[in-house]
């Protein structure tokens, strides 16, 4: 958690703020490419359509000078290091632009031996938030177009990065929509909760975009693709859908950094991040664990204390 005293609360975040970060990222990226600290930098380039951004691996100074940061930079870039651009790490140290939620994922991946800190040069971004989906992209971030996950972000400051770009600024008075939604679901009678999730999961088409985009779904063979034995039915039918999402939530428990990419990419608008947040909340309450910005030795479900809560056990 950041010290309240140092942060700046505003009602809108203007393009100039992002521009300043963009400049800082470019400067740093150019520098580390020039002095060959890194073989490439994973960051964002402007998208083809105006107001968009797309992840990219830049390897030359010329490209690095085109890197940007804007509210459209929604993607969690950590996934590029373990999946899409996995090979690049073999060639040497890699720079990566990281928002708070990306940092969490990087820390988690380091905890799980998927990345080594010394292989990375992390350009941290003091991120005030990014766009939600289906919102108006004016270049200015406001209460109206900020993403749901960013409303309750606790990791604006990318502590643990090699350099940090930006000054701590947050939108003021954001309603915690996710927390409210979680509370609403928790307050439902049990049958209604079941109906709520059943409806959502029944829409799932098992496109696996959630898995694809998740930095933690890096298994070479997913349990849910296995057929001897088949633990989770693989066709998009309600039984398998339910099992898939429960297994995924369980596998992410204690690891998920809350980037909510799964929810963003879901074509069927299933509120997947709620499941992950619920698990995070439980692990915080039970074991005081929070996915942080630095790697830990063991995640909460890989360790134990002799006096852990067992009130549910007879």
């Amino acid at each position: 958690m950041n010290a309240k005293a140092n942060k700046n609360q505003v009602t809108s975040i203007e393009p100039a703020y992002y521009q300043a970060i963009t400049e800082a990222i470019r400067k740093e990226a150019v520098q580390i490419l020039k002095d060959e600290t890194v073989v490439g930098v994973v960051g964002y380039l402007p998208g083809r359509r105006k107001g968009t951004a797309s992840p990219a691996l830049v390897t030359t100074v010329e490209e690095a000078e085109k890197l940007i940061f804007s509210p459209a930079c929604v993607n969690n870039l950590s996934v590029y290091l373990t999946k899409a651009k996995k090979g690049v790490l073999k060639q040497g140290k890699v720079g990566i632009v990281a928002k708070g939620c990306d940092m969490r994922a990087l820390a988690g991946l380091m905890t799980e031996s998927q990345l080594q800190r010394e292989d990375l040069f992390i350009i941290g971004v003091v991120c005030p938030g990014v766009y939600g989906f289906g919102v108006e992209r004016t270049g200015t971030l406001t209460e109206a177009n900020i993403a749901r996950k960013c409303r309750e972000c606790t990791v604006h400051m990318p502590e643990g990065s090699d350099v940090a770009a930006g000054t701590h600024t947050e939108l003021a008075d954001l309603t915690p929509e996710e927390a409210e939604e979680m509370a609403r679901i928790e307050a439902m009678p049990q049958a209604e909760r079941w109906a709520f999730w059943k409806e959502h999961f029944s829409r799932c088409i098992r496109c696996m975009a959630c898995r694809q985009v998740c930095p933690f779904c890096y298994c070479e063979q997913c349990l849910c693709d296995k057929n001897r034995p088949q633990a989770v039915e693989s066709s998009p039918r309600p039984a398998g859908n339910m099992a898939w999402h429960l297994v995924r939530a369980m596998h992410l428990a204690g690891r998920c950094g809350g980037c909510a990419e799964c929810e963003r990419v879901c074509p069927m608008d299933i509120p997947l991040n709620l499941l992950n947040r619920r698990m995070a909340q439980e692990l915080k309450e039970l074991y005081d664990f929070e996915a942080g910005l630095t790697p830990v030795e063991k995640g909460p479900l890989n360790e134990y204390k002799e006096n852990d809560d067992q009130s549910f056990i007879k």
Binding site: E112, S113, Q114, Y218, C219, E220, Q221, C222, L223, K226, R228, P229, Q230, A231, H251, E297, K298, G299, L301, N302, E303
Partner: protein, 665 residues
């Protein structure tokens, strides 16, 4: 498995009374893949087993299920029978329709239905079963004993006498440990050194024992049967191979007034010294902290007077690596002190007793040295402050022990007995003196122990006062002891000349660090944890490492020696075979799919999982994967439940088997 045989046992009437075994057998026969089924009165009897063997041969069975009692009862029996019939024993399973069915239900229909279900589930388990071969691990028949006290000595001698080589590593310059410091021992009052020193000499002379004193364990790698231990030999500044033990260096050393640790700081020794005259080896060591040569570079007397030229100021720490198959940990204990403890320490000192600043309040071990013929007073009881003979001595038990407020809740086990012994020794040496003992309980279980304590009270005239001491302070040359006698219900004040505290037994300093090197577990006090409190009191949970003596918990000499011999017996059992054979229920890694997140490694209580590098033909690192050392794996399967991609699998309990059983529900 497509040709499974199901054998349903009546167990006399034990099963057939409530379960319709014929129906169960019939239903089993209808399960696809079951090639043969029958029922029989006593499957475990000779004819029953013959029936099974015959059926395997006749029906070419490739899997066997015996529906009978609990597998905890007869699994071994039937697996052996199956093996005799040419089947892999792990393809034979049991369905428990007795303890879990016929004995606990009375409704015949429901019990029969349940029995059928159980058989159905277990048939699936057999169907998905795999042949498993016992795991063999080579065994290096050399043992390491850490610690050269009575525990280590006993264990080392036992193993060495059995014909195996032993490496003994002792931190101090001499072996002997605490027992060498004691004056006499309960309950027989025989002289400790008289029984101890011959054993020390035996160690030194034993052809099968390599003794490393003034040495410590640096690193431990490997696993049961195959440990590689790096030993650090601290620079002694005296070449052991040259030194004849003549002792001239010690007599000529100009720096002689260094408090001797062996005498609890009450005697003096030179800077080059052996801790005590009977030390083994009798090779001196230079205490560099106190040596003028090391501190100012000016002296060198010992080197000049040493005939063989053994003194070597340039000596450096050296390291050796020892291959051993088993390790006995016998690091012993230290005594609690009442001093003020550093801030934040979980253990507290005794301010009410003056935090150790009153010179005539001593601990039990100091009293041992005072009473010992080889001690600083030549065996006379004289108090430290002024060398006078104390006429009133107060002994206080449970100092530190059983005091959760001071951070130690346990009973130190030996204090009741040694305090009784102290009162006797005192009475023997100071006839007109009076001993008082403040105690809460006299805990004297043990052969001849209670009689010993009663002797102290009845014949040796020790006054036992049931109650504790709240405060002590110096007044003049007396120590005012403010206690209570809870039986009379009054306060008691004694002006003592000497106070002896029975301080708590604590694990040695650094016990936790050694445990971390060894990969064994320890409790919150740093005592080492045995694998099972009742049935495996000598073994560590880490295979191949055994415990002896007070490092596992407070112990007296007989218990220590017993445990040491038990540890030695465990080592010999291990060494009895060339190869270690163990149950093949261990985890295996699917290297193709393992992505090296090492969650399995993090949850493995055995430290059985290592990181393995997969390289391509050019030698480039492709990835790191988990590797299970089958010699170390305990077979709990926690790794498999933890692995997200199920790339690690426990043989005998594979997902395939379990899922098949669930599918058959």
């Amino acid at each position: 498995m497509s040709r499974i045989g199901v054998f349903v046992c009546h167990c006399g009437e034990n099963i057939s009374r409530t379960v319709d075994v014929e129906q169960v057998a019939k239903a089993a026969g209808e399960i696809p893949g079951v090639a043969y089924s029958c029922d029989y009165k006593y499957m475990c009897s000779d004819p029953g087993q013959t029936l099974l063997k015959k059926a395997v041969a006749e029906h070419k069975l490739d899997g066997v299920l015996v529906a009978a009692c609990s597998p905890r009862m007869h699994e071994k029996t039937f697996r052996k029978a199956a093996e005799a019939a040419g089947l892999n024993p792990y393809l034979c399973e049991m369905a428990n329709i007795r303890e879990h069915c016929s004995w606990v239900h009375e409704d015949r229909d429901m019990a029969t239905a349940k029995a059928k279900d159980i058989v159905k589930l277990m048939v699936e388990r057999v169907r998905k079963g795999k042949s498993l071969a016992p795991i063999t691990v080579p065994v290096t028949k050399r043992a390491l004993v850490i610690g050269g006290g009575i525990a280590g000595i006993q264990a080392a001698l036992d193993v060495a006498d059995a014909g195996h080589h032993v490496i003994m590593v002792e931190r101090d310059p001499s072996i002997g440990g605490h027992m060498a410091q004691l004056s006499e021992t309960f309950p027989t009052l025989d002289c400790s050194q008289c029984i101890m020193t011959p054993k020390m000499v035996d160690v030194a002379n034993h052809p099968n024992i390599t003794l490393y004193t003034y040495s410590e364990i640096e690193k431990v790698e490997g696993y049961i049967g195959n440990f590689q231990v790096t030993v650090k030999h601290k620079a002694r500044s005296v070449d052991e191979s040259k030194c004849t033990g003549c002792g001239v260096c010690m007599t000529k050393c100009p720096k002689k007034k260094i408090p001797n640790e062996f005498d609890q700081g009450h005697g003096m020794r030179p800077a080059i010294y052996v801790p005590f005259p009977q030390a083994v080896p009798n090779t001196p060591v230079i205490d560099r902290e106190n040596c003028t040569m090391f501190q100012s570079g000016k002296c060198g007397v010992c080197a000049k007077v040493c005939g063989p030229g053994a003194v070597d100021y340039e000596q450096k720490d050296t390291f050796t690596v020892e291959d051993v198959g088993a390790i006995v940990v016998a690091t012993g204990f230290k005594l609690y002190t009442i001093d003020r403890k550093p801030e934040g320490s979980p253990i507290q000192g005794y301010g009410e007793f003056g935090y150790g600043t009153i010179p005539d309040i001593i601990d039990g071990m100091t009293f041992e040295r005072l009473a010992s013929a080889s001690g600083p007073t030549g065996g006379k009881i004289l108090r430290p402050s002024d060398g006078k003979e104390p006429k009133q001595v107060v002994f206080i038990q449970c100092v530190g022990s059983r005091a959760r407020e001071k951070g130690i809740s346990y009973c130190s086990k030996v204090c009741c007995m040694y305090t009784a012994k102290h009162t006797m020794l005192y009475h023997h040496k100071v006839h007109d003196g009076q001993a008082y003992v403040f105690f809460m309980d006299a805990r004297t279980p043990g052969k001849g122990y209670d009689e010993f304590w009663r002797r102290a009270v009845e014949e040796e005239e020790a006054v036992y006062i049931r109650g504790m001491v709240s405060r002590m302070y110096q007044r003049g040359d007396k120590i005012v002891v403010m206690g209570s006698d809870i039986q009379v219900g009054t306060q008691v004040e004694i002006e003592a000349d000497l106070v002896v505290l029975a301080t708590a037994v604590q694990p040695q300093d650094g016990a936790d660090l050694l445990a971390q090197k060894l990969g064994i577990s320890y409790d919150k006090y740093n005592f080492y944890s045995e694998a099972h409190a009742k049935l495996k009191p000598v073994e560590c949970a880490t295979a191949g490492i055994y415990l002896a003596g007070a490092c596992q918990g407070p112990k007296d000499i007989p218990d220590t020696v017993s445990q040491a011999s038990a540890a030695a017996a465990k080592v010999m059992t291990l060494f009895a075979k060339d190869k270690l054979e163990r149950d093949p229920v261990v985890a295996k890694v699917n290297e193709k799919y393992c992505v090296g997140c090492f969650a399995c490694k993090k949850v493995c209580a055995y430290g059985a999982i290592e990181e393995k590098e997969i390289r391509d033909r050019q030698g480039n690192l492709v990835k790191k994967v988990a590797y299970v050392n089958p010699g170390v794996c305990g077979g709990c399967g926690t790794c498999q439940a933890t692995c997200p991609s199920k790339s690690i699998e426990l043989d005998g309990y594979t997902d395939e088997q379990i899922m098949a059983m669930i599918e058959a529900l």
